[in-house]
């Protein structure tokens, strides 16, 4: 099954067989990172631009390492150094970058839909590295990969996603990806951060942590952002932690072989206790390791093909 997408903007609507194709491709790349010489020539001569309008250590580094291990040249542009500060619009920045003939553009942006705007403005493949509160598809894919590696499957698993669902791009990508692959998904959080409309996406909505994670195979904890407190989504981090923080006592109702994921960065002692984060069920560092392989797979699937199309177009232009 080929990967037919021109861009990766989100997991919503991505067919199950294409998701599985990415995961299978990623699996074949895992081994490269275990070698003494962690480099293959797959994307030699290709250029990948990491365009980050929002600070990120984990995701940007992961993309950069992924590109470098495939021998692509990478350029990192962050909002503080970009022309965004001089008032240039995203669309103009995109067109200017495209004029330099990159083979893929990886973008993180605080506004939902910014990668869609970018994808409309350029013909190069655009990879969404997190847009506002919309999606973070590579995080979703690496979570799927990690769960599948550990559990051997996705279909039929009971997955609880806990926390600030409303503002979480990780939650949305996982929700769409997990549903596409046949997992049962429950969302858990206070009603202020988990509106009932989420139920229309074929998931169960819980406002109680204990019942929300009872019998779960997988628990995915989300980072709670401190600024939500000021906006009255909940009264205090302490109260949030008491109601929705995952510690060993709260874990008792889950399956004995439950695994715990967290996209990071963690607020230890708030949404997750250190004993859980560092405990035997935790896959949190596996997620980070797998992130590199998943991003290598996507760069390979999108950038390699993007270049041949571009070359063909250029040839056609020259011929005509």
């Amino acid at each position: 099954m080929p990967f037919t997408q021109r861009h990766l903007l989100g997991l919503e609507g991505l067919p199950a067989d294409e998701i599985l194709h990415v995961l299978d491709t990623a699996k074949s790349f895992v081994e490269i990172s275990e070698r003494e010489i962690k480099k293959v020539p797959t994307l030699r001569g290709k250029t990948v631009i990491n365009l980050f309008y929002e600070s990120s250590t984990r995701t940007r580094t992961s993309f950069e390492i992924a590109a470098k291990r495939l021998s692509a040249d990478t350029i990192n542009i962050s909002a503080t150094t970009s022309s965004a500060q001089k008032g240039e619009t995203l669309a103009d920045t995109a067109r200017n970058l495209e004029a330099m003939r990159p083979d893929a553009i990886v973008v993180r942006h605080p506004s939902s839909g910014a990668p869609h705007l970018l994808a409309r403005a350029v013909s190069r493949p655009v990879i969404n590295a997190g847009d506002g509160q919309h999606e973070h598809p590579t995080q979703g894919l690496l979570d799927l990969f990690t769960i599948r590696e550990k559990k051997g499957r996705i279909a039929g698993l009971d997955v609880a996603i806990v926390g600030d669902i409303l503002h979480s791009r990780v939650a949305r990508s996982n929700l769409f990806g997990l549903r596409a692959l046949g997992a049962k998904v429950r969302l858990v959080g206070p009603p202020t951060l988990l509106p009932e409309e989420f139920a229309s996406f074929g998931v169960a909505v819980h406002h109680d942590l204990k019942t929300g994670i009872a019998g779960a195979d997988v628990i995915m904890m989300l980072r709670i952002q401190r600024e939500r407190q000021g906006a009255n989504f909940f009264p205090s981090l302490d109260e949030y932690s008491r109601l929705f923080g995952l510690d060993r006592a709260a874990l008792a109702g889950a399956k004995p072989d439950v695994v715990i994921l967290h996209p990071g960065p963690m607020n230890r002692g708030v949404e997750i206790s250190s004993e859980v984060a560092d405990g035997p069920y935790s896959l949190i560092l596996d997620q980070v390791t797998n992130g590199v392989a998943v991003r290598m797979a996507l760069l390979y699937l999108l950038a390699a093909r993007g270049r041949t199309e571009a070359e063909r177009e250029a040839e056609e232009r020259e011929a005509s």
């Binding site: 995203l90 942006h109 939902s112 839909g113 869609h116 705007l117 506002g132 409309e197 996406f201």
Partner: protein
């Protein structure tokens, strides 16, 4: 408006609910007035400088847009009085009321006079300025409404911004009653605002902050109570939710002096039109759910909603081709309102005479301006509508300076064939 001699419009179906007419009639216009309305062929021997063949067409009193933004002064890169009224007459409108959120704000007689001077120089349609309710639209102190009224405003509104302070709204309603002009109410609770689309399944899917229906309904409810308290005239701008329709219906039943308008986009599209972050589907109030759409249609059918208005809000491409949450609110509507509202006739939501009421008779009545009827002696503002003409909405063909429409590429049915203001042809369309 000067006249170029008498005009006879013949062979058409005249729809004038104020006169109780929906029948084949011919029309004689002279000296800027309707001179005669007579049976088919009866004006055959009347001498006229021009005879307009209206066979297959509706002859209706000129359409009046109660709510648009002409952007002049201050935002001439979006629209001007000249381009906005050119769009208006191409869309069948002979008069429009323009909102006060210009730069400077129309909160003084000087700005009102400036707009009217620009209209006298450059407008193809009649222009009626709406004055600001509060100074600088800041929602704090009343603007000099009496001065602006003397200069020619027909209503007051802080449109674009809500009046957050109930005390200010109360006094505005009381004060405006002295001049007999309505307050056009942009109903939006500031504490519930701040989103960029309707709050619902689609906003959740797209990860966009929503504006709940309650943001509108809370203020509609408050202002109906204040209209009841003061006896003032309240006109609800761009009603967008089922709750608003219900509140207005109940208030009217109690005898409150409240009227309401709905826009073609709100009764035609739902929030799903935002699709993949289409900036041309972003406006305030936002496109709502299918149930709200249905309620607006029912409200238009039973008269709860008096008026169809465009909320024509031109914006430059650069203000739309940005991240969705940063895109400007609003779409152009003057050139698409006629066919979009005719769909309601085709779908039997509205009778043709109701359609004329919502687009001409009622807006004239609410604003207290001439027009809205074609009885002898009325001003000769006429729209000749070809209800069957099909055409495609192309950005390049729009007269408006801005092209921010979610209807680009749509095939429309119905268009203005002739638009006459003061007995003069100001627009002549091609193709029936």
């Amino acid at each position: 408006m000067t006249t170029d001699g008498a005009i006879v419009i013949e062979g058409g179906r005249l729809i004038d609910p104020a006169a109780g007419i929906d029948a084949p009639r011919d029309l004689l216009l002279e000296d800027g007035k309707v001179r005669a309305v007579d049976g088919p062929g009866a004006l055959h021997s009347a001498s006229a400088a021009r005879r307009i063949d209206a066979r297959g067409c509706w002859i209706v009193p000129g359409l009046i847009d109660l709510h648009c933004h002409l952007r002049e002064p201050g935002y001439e890169y979006k629209e001007t009085v000249a381009t906005g009224t050119a769009a208006a007459v191409a869309g069948g409108f002979t008069a429009l009321a323009c909102m006060a959120n210009t730069n400077p704000v129309n909160d003084s007689a000087a700005v009102t006079r400036f707009i009217l001077e620009r209209a006298a120089e450059a407008a193809r349609a009649r222009v009626y300025p709406i004055g600001a309710l509060s100074q600088g639209l800041a929602g704090e102190r009343l603007a000099e409404i009496g001065e602006m009224r003397a200069a020619g405003i027909v209503a007051v509104s802080d449109d674009g911004k809500p009046v957050a302070d109930a005390g200010l709204m109360r006094h505005a309603l009381e004060y405006c009653a002295m001049f007999g002009i309505p307050i056009v109410d942009h109903a939006e609770d500031p504490g519930l605002a701040g989103g960029s689309m309707h709050e619902g399944r689609t906003s959740i899917r797209l990860g966009l902050r929503g504006i709940p229906a309650a943001a509108e309904e809370v203020i509609v409810s408050r202002d109906i109570a204040l209209a009841e308290l003061t006896g003032g005239r309240l006109h609800i701008a761009h009603a967008s939710t089922r709750g608003t329709v219900d509140l207005v219906r109940a208030a009217k039943a109690r005898g409150v002096r409240v009227t309401a308008e709905a826009t073609p986009h709100h009764f035609t599209l739902t929030d799903e039109a935002v699709a993949e972050y289409d900036g041309n589907a972003k406006m305030n109030p936002p496109l709502r759910g299918a149930d709200d759409c249905e309620a607006l249609r029912a409200g238009l059918a039973d008269g709860t909603i008096d008026v169809i208005a465009t909320d024509h809000a031109p914006h430059h491409r650069d203000e739309k081709e940005v991240e969705f949450e940063n895109a400007a609110f609003g779409i152009v509507g003057l050139e698409t309102a006629l066919p979009l509202s005719l769909r309601l006739v085709e779908e039997r939501v509205l009778m043709p005479s109701d359609w004329v009421r919502r687009l001409s008779t009622k807006p004239a009545e609410i604003l207290g301006v001439p027009g809205g009827t074609l009885q002898p002696g009325a001003i000769a503002d006429v729209t000749v509508v070809s209800p069957a003409a099909e055409w495609r909405v192309e950005a390049s063909a729009l007269r408006s300076k801005s092209k921010n429409s979610p209807f680009l590429g749509w095939t429309m049915k119905g268009r203005a064939l002739f638009t006459l203001v003061g007995g003069r042809v100001v627009y002549e369309g091609a193709g029936r």
